[in-house]
Symmetry: C2
Subunit: 152 residues, 2 copies
């Protein structure tokens, strides 16, 4: 499936977007703070269709709780000029202490790094409202541009 | 310099942030649209302390023009669990046709990919208001977490 800009840029299905999200361990959380769309690299695991992120208290936690956030993952080969990007839009939610312990155990089983006892971490969940993704294939030569004008 | 979370996370100087920005060719533009902090991978070049991005007309262009935007670049080694991230906050500006030709030539000399005649590109400049960056060193073992709570 192409988006009208030529065959080089293909739109990913929702299923493919989630498959790619499950394939990585580092992504980027987008939050709005002080009127800016801040971008923070984070480790994460998927919990069904939600994203689980560990965070210390701070800007990104405050700005994520019960707010519109995004979670973005990409893998780009700048030599081959190929790659993909997935953008999940959702609602951020700081997980409270009770559910946190259950989620923590589940998350550790899923590969989210363990943390030391007494660590002042918080767990942020991103509940999806929508997801989209694009892939650029290596056969797209010469003049491809990673253009996501039709992203939304 | 550390940020109080231990020696694993170091704060980058402004000079180092710009050096790292100049070292890469793919970054992520953050814009606010429909109440979400959208994140788009883009190719870019630096023009002194500004970021130059080529874009087709669309969501990201409209959302970037004369608005608060961010530009983020990182390089993360998920095996070594090391890496860095730089976040530039600034004002987006769609460059109008006149100055665009001059900037385009300059940008092409700087390595921004050329585009075909008649292409409906626009050029977006991000004029910096502030920049910050973090580095995690590989010696940070076991329990490091890419935490940017003190980012701002």
């Amino acid at each position: 499936m192409t988006d009208g800009y030529g065959p080089r840029l293909s739109v990913l299905s929702e299923e493919e977007c989630y498959r790619l999200l499950r394939s990585q361990t580092v992504g980027r959380l987008g939050v709005i703070a002080d009127g800016y769309p801040l971008i923070f690299p984070v480790n994460y695991v998927m919990d069904r269709s939600s994203v689980l992120i560990r965070s210390r208290p701070g800007t990104k936690l405050t700005a994520a709780d019960r707010q519109n956030v995004t979670f973005q993952v990409d893998k780009i080969n700048s030599v081959e000029e190929s790659g993909w990007s997935v953008l999940l839009r959702g609602q951020g939610e700081v997980v409270s202490a009770g559910p946190r312990d259950a989620i923590r155990m589940s998350a550790e089983r899923s590969g989210l790094k363990p943390w030391v006892p007494g660590d002042d971490f918080q767990l942020v969940r991103v509940i999806p409202n929508g997801i989209s993704g694009r892939r650029i294939s290596p056969s797209s030569v010469n003049d491809w541009w990673w253009d996501t004008g039709a992203y939304m």
